[in-house]
Amino acid sequence: MAPLAPKSGDAIFASVERVNAELFTLTYGAMVRQLITDLEEVEEVNKQLDQMGYNIGIRLVDEFLAKSNVSRCVDFKETAEVIAKVGFKMFLGVTASVTNWDVEGTTCSIILEDNPLVDFVELPDTCQGLYYCNILSGVIRGSLEMVSMKTEVTWLRDMLRGDDVFELQVKLLKQIPEEYPYKDDE
């Protein structure tokens, strides 16, 4: 059987079941609010969001691979492009861009100007230090780990803190050998 051509983010998004983003945005917001009530410390909430994102990412990557028909990425540069153009689009309906590559090609920034998670959201003063969208960093980290890449994902810019875009730095730490794809740390 001839290999299927990789699909564009737009094409996949048009073909999947979609829901009203408001429901998603408000659910996420209610969840963050409940986490703040239950965990009290903003740093704990950040950690929890990252962990939840990680758990989601390790599942979401299966759907991604199944629907996108992407072949194995040649290098990390291609991986980052695929996350930004296909991954973000097919799930969140928005495209991100990739910039700020370092010389070795192992660190880059994913820039998001349009983010459904933060529609109508304002952070109150009591939430200084909260990375509201931290679930995204976990999702990226989790999904990449499932394809044998250990990464570190950190926020450089955050629109809810006054910046003009969301900027996530993704740093490839190492490629994990394929025999042990399921690590049980973290």
Binding site: D10, A11, F13, A14, V16, E17, R18, V19, N20, A21, E22, L23, F24, T25, L26, T27, Y28, G29, A30, M31, V32, R33, Q34, D38, Q48, Q51, M52, N55, I56, R59, L60, E63, M90, F91, L92, G93, P116, D119, F120, V121, E122, L123, P124
Partner: protein
């Protein structure tokens, strides 16, 4: 945290975005302002819900299913309250309980699940049963209940013995909360529970507090 200001100018006139398809299929609408309704993939919402349930049941309140259930229901309540406020901003108040329930069954359910409630029953004494013959959020879960666990699943301690029932029941606290929150915004205090004795149908039992 979510403000109610509307980024778009007119909520009433909306056109669902269908990316990739031609959007000028309704020439009669050409004079209305077309507002895009933003969408995300359904899997985003479903994995988020699964993770919320998992975090609260296996994480924070492992071995305390009652507390986990209340938190999940509270998250749903918040969502339902806000959605109900947004969807009724331009409407006059509902005149009676039945009208409010019908709103939940038709417009509200359609916004959330792209379909209406299939069957509404009432005893005319404050209890309403809203039946969705194919509840979307259950359809994608593998629901495999043994005979003992069938029936109303709103008793968390009874669920403890049956993990499948517990997982399903916990997920249902969220839509129960949504309905309770939505009605609360309409001035109606009630209790909402779910009944999945007749899968794939799911019935939401609303008991209005006098």
């Amino acid at each position: 945290m979510n403000k109610h200001t509307d980024r778009f100018t007119d909520k009433k006139k909306r056109l669902h975005r269908d990316s990739g398809l031609n959007s000028d299929q309704n020439p009669g609408r050409s004079r209305q302002v077309a507002i895009m309704v933003r969408e995300v993939s359904e899997s985003c919402l479903e994995t988020l819900l699964t993770e919320i349930v998992s975090s609260y049941c296996n994480g924070f309140y492992a071995n305390k299913p009652e507390l986990a259930a209340r938190r999940i229901e509270a998250i749903g309540f918040q969502v339902g309250h806000q959605l109900s406020e947004r969807y009724t901003m331009d409407r006059p108040r509902f005149t009676d309980h039945l009208d409010a329930i019908k709103f939940i069954c038709k417009d509200f359910w359609s916004e959330l699940f792209k379909k209406q409630i299939d069957n509404l029953k009432t005893n005319h004494r404050g209890t309403f049963v809203l039946q969705d013959n194919r509840f979307r959020w259950l359809a994608h879960m593998s629901v495999d209940l043994s005979a003992e666990a069938s029936g109303s699943i709103q008793d968390p301690s009874a669920m403890a013995d049956n993990k499948e029932a517990q997982a399903t029941g916990m997920h249902l606290y969220f839509p129960c909360g949504i309905i309770r929150g939505a009605l609360s915004n309409l001035g109606i205090q009630c209790a909402v529970s779910a009944d999945i004795s007749n899968l794939p149908a799911c019935s939401f039992v609303v008991r209005i507090k006098a």
